[in-house]
C-alpha cells in the first residue's frame, strides 16, 4: 500500500520523514540539518523534564555538547526514575552471536512486531543507532553479562528468532540508568546541568506559540516555580497507571504529557497499551501494584495449563499428557517466545475457558522443571536468580520447586504525544522522548526495545535534531516575567486549590482504583464498541464524582503526597476518555488493540489496512469536549504489509 490509497492525512501532521533509500535517510537527515555552532550552544537553555533513560541520556549528552541544561524530576534523586525497574534487557543489532542478525532484521522484526502501525523511517533509525548504544554503555562501565571469553553475552526475547538482547542479570534498566545518571552527574559536577529534584512540572509555557518554559511545583514545600528556556524536552514516561494496577512504579503518571496536550500537543494512539503476559497474579483487593516477571523467563520457562477444565490438582500431580502447552501447540516456530500481545491474549483465552490455575483461576503456569533438569539448578539460578527471589518474596512459593503462576498485566504504553522525525511535537520547540512519545513501536512493542528507544532518543537522536529548532527558528529573548508564565502559574495553582477545596468524603486512591477498573474492564486485553461506549459514560460519571467528592487533606505548603496524587488522578480521569475515543474510532484489531469484532477464525487480531494504516493524533478542544482526530498515513516501503504470523 502507498500513501495514495491511505486515508487522507492531516495537514497539521508533517512527519518530516526524509526521502531517499531507507538505509540512508538518517545519515542524510543529519547532514541536511542545520548545526548549532559549538560556541553558540552555551547561549541556549534546554529544559529536560524527567531523568529516566530518555531524560538522563539527553541531559548528559546535550550538556557535553555545550548546551545549558536544566533537568527536573519528581523523585528525590534522578536515579530513581521508573527506568530503574527494567529487568530483562536491551536489543541491539550487533550480531555478536553470528546468528544472522542485522540492522535490517531488527528493523523488520520491530515493524512486524508493532503490527504495521509504526513509522518505518523512525524504526530504521532506531535499529541503526542500537549498536552505538551498546558501545556507549560499555564505555561508561555498565556491567553487562559476559561470557567466559570476556565478550558480551546475549539472550533471546519474544518476536525474534535471533539472540540480540544484551542484559545485566535481571537488572538491565538499573545498570543502564545508573550509567546515564553517572554521565549526568559528571555534567552536574561540571556546572553544565542544573538539577532540580522533587519538582513536578504542572504546566507548559508557550510564548508566541513556541514552548519556552515550564511551571513546576516544588514537592518539598509546595512552592510554584517558573523556568524559561529556548526549548523543552518531555521525557516523562508512560501512562500505564491509568489502569491503577500496572507494573509501572507508583508515581508514574500522565500529568506532564497531559498538560502539554492541553497546550496544543497532539496525543497519538492512546489506545495502544501493552499487556505483558508474565506478571505475578493479583492476590486481593488491597493490591497496590503488579509485579512483572521478565520476559526473558520465557527463554527457559514453559507455559501451560491443565488440559481439562476445573482440574484442581497441584501442578506436580498433573501428568505430562494432561497438560496443555498451548503456546508451543499453537505457534510451533516461536513457541513460548511469541510476542507479548499474542501470549497475553492466549492466557486470557485459556482462563476464560475455565482452565486457569491458582485460587482466583486467573493464572497460568510458567514451569522451569524441564530447564532445571536439563541445565541444572545452578545455571538457572545464574540466569534468573534475582527474579526467582523476587517471586518468592511476593508469593511465598519457591519457583525452583513449583511452577510460577503468572497472568497478564498492564506494562507499557505505545501511545503518547505525537512527534515528527525530529521528535518534535505539534507545539514548536516541545520535543518528546522515550515512552512519553508514540514514535517507534506501533501497536505492540517487542521486549527489550523500550530501553533501546529511550537511549536512542536521548543519546543519539535529539542531540542532532534539536538543531532543527534552535538553529532553524528565530527565538526572542523570554524571561519568567512574561505574562505567559503568570497565566500558566495561576492556572496550575488554581487547579491544586480547586482539588483541596472539594473537601469531599472519598480518598484519591479509592477513586483511582475505580477508574482503573473501568479502564481494565473496557479498554484492557479485549475491547468492543459497546464496551468502550459504556466505559466513556462511566468515566464521565466518575470524573464528575471526583470533583464533587474527593478528599485531599493536609497542608499544600509542605510535602503533600495526596495532593500530588490527586493532581495526577484528575489528569488520568480526563486522559482516559481520549484513550477510549481512540479505541472506539480504531475499528480494527492490531497488536495490543484487540477489538473483539475484528478477529480471524483462529482468534488472532485482524487488521484493516485499507482504513486504518495511520497514526491517530488527537487535538484537545477543552475539558469535557470531544477531541478532534488528525491522521498521519503510514506508508510501508520496505516491509510488506502482511498478516503477522508466528506459527
Amino acid at each position: 500500500m502507498t500513501i495514495a490509497d491511505s486515508p487522507a492525512g492531516s495537514a497539521r501532521l508533517d512527519s518530516k520523514v526524509p526521502s531517499g533509500p531507507m538505509s540512508e535517510r538518517w545519515s542524510k537527515h543529519k547532514f541536511d540539518l542545520k548545526l548549532v555552532n559549538p560556541a553558540n550552544r552555551r547561549k541556549f537553555d534546554v529544559i529536560v523534564v524527567g531523568t529516566g533513560l530518555a531524560g538522563a541520556s539527553a541531559a548528559a549528552t546535550l550538556a557535553e555538547m555545550g548546551y545549558k541544561v536544566k533537568a527536573f524530576c519528581t523523585h528525590d534523586s534522578p536515579r530513581r526514575a521508573h527506568s530503574i525497574a527494567a529487568q530483562g534487557g536491551i536489543n541491539a543489532a550487533k550480531n555478536y552471536k553470528g546468528d544472522g542478525d542485522s540492522v535490517h532484521r531488527l528493523f523488520y522484526d520491530t515493524v512486524k512486531g508493532g503490527d504495521y502501525r509504526s513509522r518505518e523511517s523512525n524504526v530504521h533509525r532506531l535499529a541503526e543507532v542500537s549498536v552505538d548504544i551498546i558501545d556507549q554503555c560499555v564505555a561508561q562501565g555498565v556491567p553487562f553479562a559476559r561470557e567466559y571469553g570476556g565478550l558480551l553475552d546475549n539472550r533471546s526475547f519474544g518476536g525474534a528468532q535471533v539472540a540480540r538482547t544484551f542484559y545485566a542479570r535481571g537488572q538491565t534498566g538499573q545498570q543502564l540508568l545508573l550509567g546515564a545518571y553517572g554521565a549526568m552527574n559528571r555534567m552536574i559536577e561540571a556546572g553544565r546541568i542544573e538539577m532540580h529534584t522533587r519538582r513536578e512540572m504542572v504546566d507548559l509555557v508557550k510564548v508566541d506559540g513556541i514552548a519556552r518554559g515550564i511551571i513546576t511545583r516544588n514537592l518539598s514545600n509546595g512552592e510554584y516555580e517558573r523556568h524559561s528556556a529556548h526549548t523543552v524536552l518531555l521525557c516523562t514516561g508512560g501512562y500505564g497507571n491509568v489502569f491503577y494496577l500496572s507494573t509501572n512504579a507508583k508515581n508514574s503518571n500522565v500529568t506532564a504529557a497531559w498538560r502539554a496536550h492541553k497546550r496544543g500537543a497532539f496525543m497519538a494512539n492512546p489506545c495502544y497499551t501493552q499487556i505483558h503476559p508474565t506478571c505475578i497474579p493479583r492476590s486481593g483487593d488491597y493490591q497496590s501494584k503488579l509485579t512483572l516477571m521478565s520476559e526473558s523467563l520465557r527463554n527457559d520457562g514453559r507455559v501451560w495449563v491443565p488440559a481439562t477444565k476445573g482440574d484442581q490438582r497441584p501442578a506436580q500431580d498433573i501428568p505430562e499428557a494432561e497438560r496443555d502447552y498451548y503456546l508451543e501447540r499453537k505457534y510451533p516456530s516461536f513457541g513460548n517466545l511469541v510476542p507479548r500481545d499474542v501470549a497475553s491474549r492466549n492466557a486470557k483465552t485459556v482462563c476464560d475457558d475455565g482452565r486457569g490455575v491458582g485460587p482466583t483461576g486467573e493464572a497460568v503456569y510458567l514451569d522451569f522443571g524441564d530447564a532445571i533438569r536439563r541445565d541444572g539448578r545452578a545455571a538457572i539460578e545464574a540466569r534468573y536468580g534475582n527474579l526467582f527471589e523476587m517471586y518468592e518474596r511476593i508469593t511465598g512459593d519457591n519457583p525452583y520447586e513449583v511452577p510460577m503462576r503468572i497472568y497478564p498485566a498492564v506494562h507499557y504504553t505505545m501511545g503518547g504525544l505525537w512527534v515528527d522525525y525530529n521528535l518534535e511535537s505539534t507545539v514548536p520547540g516541545l520535543f518528546v522522548l522515550g515512552e512519553a512519545n508514540f514514535s517507534d513501536h506501533g501497536a505492540n512493542r517487542l521486549g527489550a526495545s523500550a530501553l533501546m528507544q529511550g537511549l536512542a532518543d536521548g543519546y543519539f537522536v535529539i542531540p542532532a535534531t534539536i538543531a532543527s529548532h534552535l538553529a532553524g527558528r528565530v527565538l526572542e529573548d523570554v524571561n519568567t516575567e512574561h505574562d505567559a508564565f503568570a497565566e500558566a502559574e495561576a492556572n496550575a495553582r488554581g487547579r491544586a486549590e480547586a482539588l483541596m477545596a472539594v473537601n469531599g468524603t472519598r480518598s484519591v486512591d479509592s477513586m483511582h482504583r475505580e477508574l482503573g477498573n473501568i479502564v481494565w474492564n473496557y479498554c484492557g486485553m479485549e475491547r468492543t464498541a459497546e464496551g468502550l461506549t459504556e466505559g466513556i459514560a462511566k468515566i464521565r460519571d466518575l470524573r464528575a464524582q471526583f470533583w464533587e467528592d474527593v478528599r485531599v487533606l493536609g497542608d499544600p505548603n509542605t510535602v503533600n503526597q495526596d495532593l500530588e496524587k490527586a493532581g495526577r488522578v484528575a489528569d488520568f480521569m480526563e486522559f482516559a476518555e481520549v484513550m477510549f475515543h481512540d479505541g472506539l474510532t480504531r475499528d480494527e484489531s492490531c497488536g495490543g488493540h484487540f477489538r473483539a469484532e475484528h478477529q480471524t477464525e483462529e482468534g488472532e487480531a485482524k487488521r484493516d489496512d485499507e482504513h486504518f494504516a495511520h497514526a491517530a493524533a488527537w487535538e484537545f478542544q477543552g475539558e469535557g469536549e470531544l477531541p478532534v482526530e488528525h491522521r498521519e498515513p503510514l506508508s510501508f516501503e520496505e516491509v510488506k504489509l502482511t498478516t503477522r504470523s508466528y506459527k
Binding site: S57, A60, T61, H75, D76, S77, R80, H82, I84, A85, K94, Y96, I134, D135, Q136, V138, A139, Q140, G141, P143, A145, R146, E147, Y148, G149, G150, R169, Q171, G173, G182, A183, R186, E189, M195, S220, A249, S283, G284, Y286, S288, K289, T291, L292, P359, T360, E362, R393, I394, G396, Y459, F460, S507, D509, S510, R551, L553, T558, V559, Q561, D562
Partner: protein, 256 residues
C-alpha cells in the same frame, strides 16, 4: 474479580513517627490497623492511610515508588531494623506473613545527621547524589566510544563489578551503622570501576574525590561493625570497603 479471603486477616498496633516539617518536634503516634497476611508492608500502610483519610486525619508520608525492591525509594526502620526483619529485602518486598495478629510494630525514618527528616518518614538523601557527582562515573562523551567488543572483561571481574553495582542507594547502610557511615555506599561505586578496565584512567581521582565528599557531607567513620552489610537489601559486601580503603591509601600515596 478477586475474592476477599477471610483467612489471614490480622489486627496490628502501629507506632509511627510523625513529624510535621524539618526541624519540627516529632513523636510516635499509635494506630490500630486491620491487615491481611497477603499484603505487602507498604500495602498495610496504604490501608492505614485510607483509614486516616476517612477519619479526616492527614495520611502518613512515606517514600516508595517501584514497590519491587529496585528504585531505593522506600526507607523505613521497623522495630529498630532498617527495612525490617527479613534479610536482603527492602520494605516494599516485605510481606505481612512475617507478622502475627496482635503484633505491635514500631516504624520510624532513617536516623542520620546527613539525612535530615523532611516530613514523617521521609528523609533528605541528597548527600548520596553529591557523593556520586564527585566521581561516580567514567568520563566519556556520548559518541566517543569504541566498539563494545574492543574492551573484553574477564567474566569474574565483570561479575564482581556487577555485584557492587547492584546498590540501590536506599541508605539502609547508613541507617544501620552506629556511626552513620556511608562507606558501604561509596565503596560500592568505587569498587565497580576499580574492577573494570573502563575505570582505570580516573582511578585515583575518583576515590579521593568521593571519599572527601562523603566526609564533608557529615557521614561518620567506619569502625568495622558490619551492620551495613547485614542491613543491605542487595547484600553488598563489606569487602568493597576494604577495597576502597586500599584504593584510597594507594591514591593518597600517589598524590604525595
Amino acid at each position: 474479580m478477586i475474592q476477599k479471603t477471610g483467612h489471614g486477616d490480622m489486627k496490628l498496633t502501629l507506632e509511627v513517627w510523625r513529624q510535621a516539617a524539618p526541624g519540627a518536634p516529632g513523636k510516635f503516634e499509635t494506630y490500630e490497623v486491620d491487615a491481611n497476611e497477603h499484603m505487602s508492608f507498604l500495602e498495610m500502610l496504604d490501608v492505614l492511610n485510607q483509614q486516616l483519610v476517612e477519619r479526616g486525619e492527614e495520611p502518613v508520608v512515606f517514600e516508595h515508588d517501584c514497590r519491587e525492591g529496585i528504585c531505593g525509594s522506600c526507607n523505613l526502620t521497623i522495630d529498630g531494623k532498617p527495612h525490617g526483619p527479613r534479610e536482603r529485602t527492602t520494605v516494599c518486598q516485605l510481606h505481612m506473613r512475617e507478622y502475627r495478629s496482635g503484633d505491635r510494630i514500631r516504624i520510624e525514618p532513617w536516623r542520620a545527621n546527613a539525612f535530615p527528616i523532611v516530613k514523617d518518614l521521609m528523609v533528605d538523601r541528597s548527600a548520596f547524589d553529591r557523593i556520586q557527582q564527585a566521581g561516580g562515573y567514567v568520563s566519556v562523551n556520548t559518541g566517543a566510544a569504541p566498539d563494545a567488543h574492543a574492551i573484553p572483561v574477564a567474566k569474574q571481574n565483570a561479575d564482581m563489578a556487577f555485584d557492587a553495582a547492584q546498590c540501590i542507594g536506599c541508605g539502609a547502610c547508613v541507617a544501620a551503622c552506629p556511626n552513620a557511615s556511608a562507606m558501604l555506599f561509596t565503596s560500592a561505586k568505587v569498587s565497580q570501576f576499580t574492577l573494570l578496565p573502563q575505570g582505570q584512567p580516573e582511578r585515583e581521582r575518583r576515590v579521593l574525590a568521593m571519599v572527601e565528599t562523603m566526609d564533608e557531607e557529615g557521614f561518620g567513620n567506619c569502625s568495622n561493625h558490619y551492620e551495613c552489610e547485614a542491613a543491605c537489601p542487595k547484600a553488598i559486601s563489606v569487602t568493597n570497603i576494604a577495597r576502597m580503603n586500599r584504593e584510597y591509601a594507594r591514591a593518597s600515596l600517589k598524590r604525595r
